[in-house]
């Protein structure tokens, strides 16, 4: 749940990047951190293993400016993607306002995407949240790999696998080159802020 401070007029919004291991959640945040450096006052926090895999989460606070006199502070988190870390993934989801599901477009990752999305559904239920109600954006990451001869799934297939029932906004993207990273972020921020406004009215 977002936290609203009426005294200092600050709204804190928690957005979590979720997805299977090595799908590019941290890479998304790293790109945002580089690209929007001017709006970010602090360093990105990464809790990772020696092998650069996310151990707990990455955290990037981000100032979005004002809406109706309120400062909007966006807090971006990632979860650890590896299967064994579900307990930690669940902890990071506590109090979430919006989710970006990052899917890996590589052909061989097809099943892992579906499993991860199902687990997101279950993990949200544990907090009495519904994947069908929470602001959600899906990103089909790594589309640039096609140019390097790596077999990737057509977007239509990914969409059918992951978004046929949810019907949420989705983007093809390449976190490493930055393609559609900002578009994904903008979409989830606007959906989340609108959803918070609705809750308050």
């Amino acid at each position: 749940m977002s936290f609203i401070n009426l005294k200092d007029k600050v709204v804190q919004v928690k957005i979590v990047y979720y997805g299977p291991g090595r799908c590019g959640k941290t890479t998304n945040l790293e790109y945002v951190n580089r690209k929007f450096r001017d709006q970010i006052q602090s360093e990105m926090v990464s809790l990772k293993t020696h092998g650069d895999r996310t151990l707990f989460f990455d955290f990037l606070p981000f100032d979005m400016g004002q809406i109706k006199g309120y400062d909007i502070k966006i807090q971006l988190y990632t979860v650890p993607g590896q299967v064994k870390y579900n307990a930690t993934r669940k902890l990071v989801l506590k109090g979430v306002d919006g989710v970006v599901f990052v899917a890996d477009a590589m052909e061989k990752q097809r099943e892992k995407n579906i499993r991860s999305l199902n687990q997101l559904h279950e993990n949200l239920q544990a907090y009495k949240e519904s994947i069908f109600k929470l602001p959600l954006v899906i990103q089909y990451n790594k589309v640039d790999l096609k140019d390097h001869g790596v077999p990737i799934l057509p977007t239509a297939v990914l969409r059918k696998d992951l978004n046929s029932r949810l019907k949420v906004p989705d983007f093809e993207a390449s976190a490493i080159t930055g393609y559609n990273v900002a578009a994904t972020l903008k979409k989830i921020i606007s959906s989340t802020v609108v959803s918070i406004q609705k809750k308050l009215l």
Binding site: M1, S2, F3, I4, N5, L6, K7, Q12, K14, Q41, S42, E43, V45, L47, F56, F57, F59, P61, K73, Q75, Y77, A87, L91, V92, K94, G95, V96
Partner: protein
Amino acid sequence: MNYGIVSQEQLEQIDTILAGKLIKLGVDCVIIIDMAGNIITAKDNGESKYDVYSFAALAAGNFATVDAMAKLVGEAEFSLLFHKGKESNIHFSKIDDELLLISMFGKDISLGFLRLNVVEAIEQIRKVWEANRD
């Protein structure tokens, strides 16, 4: 649960408690966060330059981890945590199931004295907070 919004009046009351009980004692910085990593309020002595937002995210994660460890050894919770450094120390104490009080202080304050004041501050904050739920 009536979380999410706290009135200006309540925040002012809480800030007064923090200033009177902890900042006055010589604590560098006090933060109240919720378990999702949001900052409810932060007060400092005017000199500390901590990045409180990153701190809140890490502290919530840290406390959640310790909570999970408590369950593994059959405890309902570990309600406080203390990290000791050479120059600065951090003390975490649970206010209730959702809120956490974090004090950062230097080597000039004794832990025992701090803990006494933290307990008193928490009692007073709970009263203000409960008024929110009624």
